[in-house]
């Protein structure tokens, strides 16, 4: 089926876009790269009367670092992230995962703002960014607010954003020393992941014990899932096969995957367990490798 008829608006500033969205809360949708939105429209799941193109808004596509924080403009594409030297230097876990995201066409037009704002469960960036305690900057016509990325996601395709709000920036603080992070993604024959698992581990350089942990799952529930119980199971301990296996089992129980075309619930839980175990091991290894230099 073709797209429904819609009116296409090009916003030239954030306030302008926000005003337009505020006036037509039910009918207007932000249009960034369009990679996700147009698919929904093609299937007639979404039939917006207005598309507000925000790509012409200047100054929303950048990757900077200052004061120990990496700032990524909402219009930054997957491709930008994949090839940015700054990302490679400071947040290499993202350069590592990007080549596996979607396909080359989606990566060259899909934006990070759209990736997060869409709140689709089958994505890679949210779990990784949450494992790094990322924040997002959200703006409307006159105000800006910062919120932890974790608080953005409400449910399947549902965010805590108000209709007139846009994501303008993603902020990630530089990892603490002795922090290691690993993201593992399982997919099969599809551009989208089946299960994603991000684990961040900070160790004490003296004792080599884990002092902080992040265990975040993607694709196995309505929103990215931080498994705090698994994090607790790792804290205060050095890397051990037993404790990582325990955290993995906790994660496999905590998530709520659905049986779908691609795999059964049972299988997805099994994959969560395997990925978590492997990610914990690698995150520990990365955290300790910083001990040597």
């Amino acid at each position: 089926m073709g797209l429904n008829r819609f009116e296409y608006i090009e916003a030239s500033s954030i306030p302008e876009a926000s005003r337009f969205l505020a006036d037509r809360p039910e009918e207007a949708r932000i249009y960034a790269g369009g990679t996700s939105l147009l698919l929904l429209m093609k299937q007639r799941i979404a039939r917006p009367a207005y598309l507000v193109n925000i790509k012409k808004i200047p100054g929303l596509r950048y990757i900077d670092k200052n004061d120990g924080t990496v700032r990524i403009g909402a219009l930054t594409t997957h491709h930008d992230l994949e090839f940015s030297p700054l990302i490679r230097r400071w947040l290499p876990v993202i350069s590592e995962l990007e080549p596996e995201v979607a396909n080359i066409r989606v990566r060259s037009t899909g934006t990070i703002g759209g990736n997060l704002g869409f709140a689709e469960p089958l994505t890679d960036l949210p779990p990784v960014l949450i494992a790094m305690d990322a924040r997002i900057k959200v703006a409307d016509e006159s105000l800006e607010r910062l919120l932890p990325l974790e608080h953005l996601f409400r449910g399947y395709y549902e965010t805590s954003l108000r209709p007139q709000e846009l994501i303008t920036e993603i902020q990630v603080d530089l990892p603490a020393p002795f922090f290691g992070i690993k993201y593992l993604r399982f997919s099969m024959g599809s551009d989208k992941p089946l299960v994603g698992c991000a684990v961040g581990i900070r160790i004490d350089p003296e004792s080599k014990l884990c002092v902080d942990a992040r265990c975040v799952l993607g694709c196995v529930g309505p929103t990215p899932l931080r498994v705090r119980e698994a994090e607790e199971a790792l804290k205060g301990l050095p890397y051990r096969v037993n404790s990582s296996a325990k955290a993995a089992r906790i994660a496999a129980t905590a998530c709520s995957p659905l049986t779908d075309l691609r795999a059964t619930e049972e299988y997805k839980r099994a994959i969560v367990e395997v990925l978590m175990r492997r990610a914990v091991e690698e995150a520990f290894r990365r955290a300790s490798s910083k001990l040597q230099g």
Partner: protein
């Protein structure tokens, strides 16, 4: 010369493809052309109680709506068509038979108008019981899809003997037997019985289906279509519209991939009927989702029973094959027959019985698919070969070597195969992967590696016919007219290389005019990997016809014997009494005819027969032999499988363009990996729930093995041009069983139902472990 036979020159149209200049059919915009959109059935099986299109017809911008009302008692065209059985209708008459079946169509000045107008067509359905599985379809008292089916008056010769089984959902059957099956089993030391299944799948050609029709002033029809066999479409449309074939012109431009999906009528009857109704050109381009609802690959269930001796000699094999052809026969009967011939595999087995049953179900019709039913049967027989080898504790290569059909051997059909380099294919893929050497274990303990192989035999459609014309122009360049459609395989280039070879002119001076039924002579089809063998040979004969004419002209001009005339550098040469005469074609033509503008026309025809000179049946003009071997890495904890290396060998007879042949082998390997590991159409109550490339998984670049090793075996065929046979389908067929066999080698589990998803592998691994634990019994200390 650099660019003739045996040289890997690039495709003539490569640059225009890369630059985007090359036009595909959806680029065609005729003046006044209307856009068509089809209304499709939401039910798997339903009676149409009422259909009212008046509101849609009055909608502004709509120029015509086609419903069953246009079909009933229309003296201008028939309602029924179909290549083998006339079970299809232009739009639904009394019933719809699958979700997606054509109910009506709108032609409008704009596509969005046509689409909107669909909502205004009122249809009242009465749902009927539907059948989705073999069991349901074959059950007693099952609801019937077709109450009665007729055959076309002038059908295909090779299918004259196939008939629907009235009062059932059995579309057609096929039977073949040789020797004494029961005796064979009695003499066997072991008998193996297994069931293998493969799901329906998509061709996934990049270009979707598209057709444009224009009614001509003389009452004829011109149809542009993405079609691999334009002459079959011409015949079907001529019959449907009661026209002589001279009044129907079917044109296929360059096609963006076919793989079997673009054969036989698909959209042509519909756009032609709308063009007739509106008196304006009508075009229809399907969306991807609609292609999924138009044509698929046959799902299959294959029961094999094999008797072997202790030493590994195959004595008897019984194959019972069920093929799901969906709601319409399409070319299914030929799929059942052709794959039936080879269902017991490329082996020397004295006692064989094969029964294929083609079944109607309320699902998307299935048709030709690269491999034409043989990938399904090879999945079964090649998986079973390894199961047997394992049980006999024999190397799977050795088991195959012991039983392979050899040059001159007698096949299941009773004929003796020749030009059949199967042994080389099998042995060369094995050595390419260092068969016999264990794979080095990967560093991570959860990974395991293994190797597996598979081989195949496939027939080409026989009897068949192809004719070609070659025109030598006044300047010595040549124009070739072939019915063959260039679907990306490079047929234009191959034909040009052959003319270049025969006439000693550069490929750049050869123009290929293709797949236009008004300009070209009859060609049965671009499928069955037949074009190089048949059309290539016809082009060679046509070019040789021109050589003969040139030799006569030169002979007359110089007074020399025609057999002494030589051809080089776009000209002729002859030495008469130590005097060298030479002339370019251009000069020879103008000197001979005394005027500029004389052309020569050469004609060539290749016709194959169903019986050989020695009286043996000829089920295939040539036999394809091929083999594949895979090295895989299996993750024991997730069940995921990665193909690390793949070797593919095919006996191509003679590689006219080795690079093209290698591309076929590599492309077949990649497609095969997708079909082996991930592809499958999923239905829920008759509704196809993954009709797009987000939900339907295809192999992606990341799934391509690090190394694909193409191996060309060249065992010349005396009737092929320079010995060439076909290569298009060979490579796809052995991939899935080779991978399944490699998986068992790696981790000791066997999956018999395609696709081999990680979940199936993991489950099999878990079951194997549970079994092992049970065998070990309770561990001491625990009770």
């Amino acid at each position: 010369m650099q660019d003739n036979v045996g040289q890997s020159i690039k495709r003539l149209e490569s640059e225009s493809k890369v630059s985007g200049e090359l036009k595909y059919l959806s680029d065609l915009k005729l003046p006044g052309m209307l856009h068509c959109k089809a209304l499709r059935s939401p039910y798997a099986h339903a009676r149409i109680v009422r259909i009212d299109s008046q509101r849609a017809a009055k909608f502004s911008g709509v120029e015509g709506v086609l419903t069953r009302d246009d079909m009933v008692d229309n003296p201008h065209f028939d309602s029924h068509y179909g290549p083998v059985l006339k079970d299809q209708t232009v739009v639904a008459l009394d019933k719809v038979r699958y979700v997606g079946d054509l109910v009506a169509a709108v032609a409008a000045t704009r596509l969005d108008i046509a689409e909107e107008a669909l909502d205004l067509i009122e249809v009242e359905y009465e749902e009927l019981g539907a059948v989705f599985s073999f069991e349901e379809a074959l059950a007693e008292n099952a609801p019937l899809l077709h109450e009665q089916v007729s055959k076309p008056e002038h059908g295909f010769v090779d299918l004259a003997d196939v008939n629907p089984v009235e009062g059932t959902n059995i579309c057609t059957t096929f039977h073949l037997s040789k020797g004494d099956l029961e005796k064979g089993f009695q003499n066997s030391d072991f008998v193996f019985e297994n069931v293998f299944t493969c799901p329906s799948a998509q061709h996934a050609a990049l270009e979707t289906l598209c057709a444009v029709a224009r009614l001509e002033r003389n009452g004829g029809l011109t149809i542009w279509s993405t079609v691999q066999n334009p002459f079959v479409i011409r015949d079907q449309i001529a019959e449907l519209f009661h026209l002589p074939v001279s009044k129907v012109r079917v044109i296929a431009l360059n096609i963006g991939g076919g793989y079997g999906s673009k054969l036989y009528p698909k959209l042509e009857p519909l756009v032609a009927a709308l063009a007739w109704k509106t008196r304006k050109p009508v075009g229809l381009t399907l969306t991807r989702e609609e292609v999924f609802q138009t044509i698929t690959k046959h799902a299959a269930e294959i029961h094999l029973k094999t008797g072997v001796t202790r030493e590994g000699r195959l004595l008897a094999r019984q194959c019972r094959i069920y093929l799901d052809t969906g709601a319409y026969a399409e070319i299914g009967p030929r799929v059942a027959k052709k794959s039936g011939y080879t269902a017991a595999g490329p082996y020397n087995i004295p006692n064989i019985q094969i029964d294929s049953c083609l079944v109607y179900t309320n699902k998307v019709p299935a048709g030709a698919f690269r491999g034409f039913g043989v990938s399904q049967s090879a999945w079964a027989h090649e998986s079973e070969m390894d199961l047997i080898a394992r049980a006999l504790q024999m190397d799977p290569l050795e088991l195959r070597q012991k039983n392979l059909l050899e040059e001159g051997g007698e096949f299941a059909t009773g004929e003796h195969v020749h030009s059949f380099g199967l042994r080389q294919c099998v042995e060369r893929v094995a050595s390419a992967l260092q068969w016999g050497e264990k794979c080095p274990p990967p560093p991570q303990k959860h990974l395991a590696r293994g190797k597996g192989m598979a081989c195949l035999i496939k027939a080409t459609i026989t009897p068949s016919i192809s004719s070609a014309l070659v025109r030598l122009n006044e300047d010595g360049s040549a124009t070739v007219y072939v019915g063959t459609a260039d679907v990306g395989q490079g047929s234009d280039t191959i034909m040009a290389q052959i003319v270049s070879q025969e006439l000693a002119i550069p490929v750049t001076h050869v123009q290929v005019v293709h797949s236009d039924t008004d300009l070209c002579l009859y060609d049965l089809t671009t499928s069955s990997s037949r074009s190089t063998f048949h059309m290539g040979r016809a082009v060679q004969l046509a070019a040789q016809d021109i050589r003969r004419q040139l030799a006569c002209l030169a002979g007359r001009l110089w007074n020399c014997p025609v057999e002494e005339v030589l051809f080089a550098n776009q000209g002729v040469r002859c030495v008469v009494n130590d005097v060298v005469h030479a002339a370019s074609y251009r000069n020879l033509l103008s000197a001979s005819f005394g005027i500029k503008g004389a052309n020569l026309v050469g004609k060539g025809t290749v016709k194959t027969e169903a019986v050989q000179r020695n009286g043996e049946p000829l089920t295939s003009a040539f036999w394809f032999a091929g083999a594949g071997a895979a090295e895989v890495e299996v993750d024991r904890e997730t069940g995921s499988v990665r193909v690390v290396r793949y070797a593919s060998a095919a006996d191509v007879g003679k590689a006219i363009n080795p690079f093209f042949c290698e591309q076929q082998l590599k492309g077949g390997a990649i497609t095969g990996i997708g079909l082996a590991l991930m592809e499958q159409l999923v239905y829920q109550d008759g509704l196809l729930i993954n009709p797009n490339f987000l939900d339907y998984n295809l192999a992606r670049f990341l799934d391509i093995p690090e190394e694909i090793i193409p191996i060309l075996v060249e065992r010349a065929h005396e009737e092929g041009p320079y010995g060439a046979k076909g290569v298009g389908e060979t490579a796809l067929i052995p991939v899935a069983p080779a991978i399944a066999n490699a998986i068992e080698d790696a981790v000791g589990v066997r999956v018999t139902d395609l696709p081999i998803t990680p979940e199936k592998v993991l489950r099999a691994l878990q079951e194997k472990e549970q079994k092992a634990q049970l065998l070990e019994g309770p561990t001491p200390g625990r009770s």
